[in-house]
């Protein structure tokens, strides 16, 4: 009986605390209900557009720990200047953006901290995010086991995004083929891997439309480059939810 208990409580030197069993990314950039007119999308300026395709060229996906933030004391109840209203893993920046705790800690650490990949999934993958589906991420042959670490950020590196759309105004139809190069899509995580963790972990991420991809664009005044710039900016507003359990 005693030996059984010992076996259950012991993790040998170098032995992993957890193994990544599976990882997937679900994508669905159909317009959210408030903007869904069936075959058209409504924008916040009242324009109607048809979105024929949103092709994501994903270069890589990684889950990172934050390392080197030694001595940084970040208290969500008492956030640093420039941030307020911290809860749920993020704070509000004065700019209005939501910023993950780990990003703020990295900022407070100055140049000493950096995000280091714990798990990396190398693409490329090309997916049509309007054709809702799930991308099964290949669990690495080497490195799915991890020792004591933190999982602080999930990030999707995009090579480019192609948007095929038509602006519809009464009898007028104006097609646009936009090529975007948005910034990486990130979601903060607050997961500790240690001897109290579940031995098997599964990663499940969802990328969904926040409804604002085509907002703040005056189609009567904008050319394709200006529309591409606006949609690129709005790409930071798509919703990325990540669970690791």
């Amino acid at each position: 009986m005693m030996s059984l208990l010992l076996a259950a409580c012991t993790t040998g030197p170098g032995a992993p605390f957890a193994t990544l069993e599976g990882a997937e990314l679900a994508l669905d950039l159909h317009p959210t209900e408030a903007r869904d007119l069936g075959d058209r999308t409504l924008t916040n300026e009242g324009w109607e557009i048809e979105v024929h395709g949103i092709e994501l060229a994903i270069a890589s996906i990684h889950v990172d720990d934050l390392q080197g933030a030694v001595g940084v004391e970040f208290d969500p109840a008492n956030p640093p200047a420039g941030y307020s209203l911290c809860h749920g893993g993020h704070c509000h920046a004065d700019s209005g953006a939501l910023v993950a705790y780990a990003e703020i800690e990295a900022e407070l650490a100055g140049g000493t901290a950096s995000f280091v990949p714990v798990w990396s999934f190398q693409g490329p993958w090309t997916v049509d995010a309007l054709d809702a589906g799930t991308l099964q991420l290949p669990v690495p042959d080497e490195g799915p086991d991890v020792g004591q670490t933190g999982l602080r950020r999930f990030q999707i590196e995009l090579d480019h995004v192609l948007v095929d759309m038509t602006w519809v105004e009464q009898d007028q139809r104006v097609p646009f083929a936009l090529q975007l190069q948005p910034l990486p899509l990130s979601s903060g995580l607050e997961v500790a891997v240690d001897r109290f963790s579940e031995p098997s972990l599964n990663l499940s991420a969802q990328l969904t439309d926040g409804g604002r991809l085509f907002d703040d664009i005056d189609f009567t005044l904008s050319d394709a480059d200006q529309i591409a710039a606006s949609v690129t900016n709005n790409f930071g507003l798509v919703e990325l939810d990540v669970e690791i359990q």
Binding site: T32, A34, E45, C86, S95
Partner: protein, 151 residues
């Protein structure tokens, strides 16, 4: 005395939870409740939203509702049962920064978006509601005080 020990433990555990009501959990329990009001087509005529309300929207143009702060430097949380409806914040006829929204983590499907507002001025604030494919949206405006329900 032995019988009292579990009872004392219960009291000690229960007290912290009663210190303040969790507005996030409370909102989850009351989604869809409240009077029906029609958002106005003009900012000047924006109806006053107090607490919870079902707000009628327009498909053709932005509409407006208002709420009031009783003091300067007030923390307000606005809950919505749909994303991409609340589209702007105004005070005194000028645009103010609307922070990014996020789901209520206690019930992300019922309340997919909430906004934490740190409002420095006392008076009447206006929420701009985007043209919508929805007929109505449930909104709740709550004084939130200190955040930090789940640190």
């Amino acid at each position: 005395m032995k019988a009292l020990i579990p009872l004392l433990a219960l009291v000690v555990v229960a007290c912290p939870a009663q210190e303040h009501e969790d507005i996030f959990a409370h909102a989850c329990e009351h989604v869809g409740e409240g009077a029906s009001i029609a958002a106005s087509a003009s900012e000047d005529a924006a109806p006053l939203l107090v607490g919870d309300a079902l707000v009628t929207l327009s498909a053709d143009a932005s509409t407006y509702v208002s709420f009031e702060t009783e003091t300067a430097d007030e923390a307000i949380t606005v809950f919505a049962d749909a994303t991409a409806v609340v589209d702007g914040l105004r005070f005194g006829g000028a645009d103010e920064t609307l922070p990014a929204g996020a789901a209520n983590e206690d019930c992300p499907e019922s309340i997919p978006e909430h906004f934490d507002l740190d409002l420095e001025a006392q008076g009447t604030w206006t929420l701009v509601l985007a043209p919508s494919a929805l007929d109505s949206v449930w909104l709740s405006v709550v004084e939130s005080g200190e955040h930090g329900h789940d640190e």
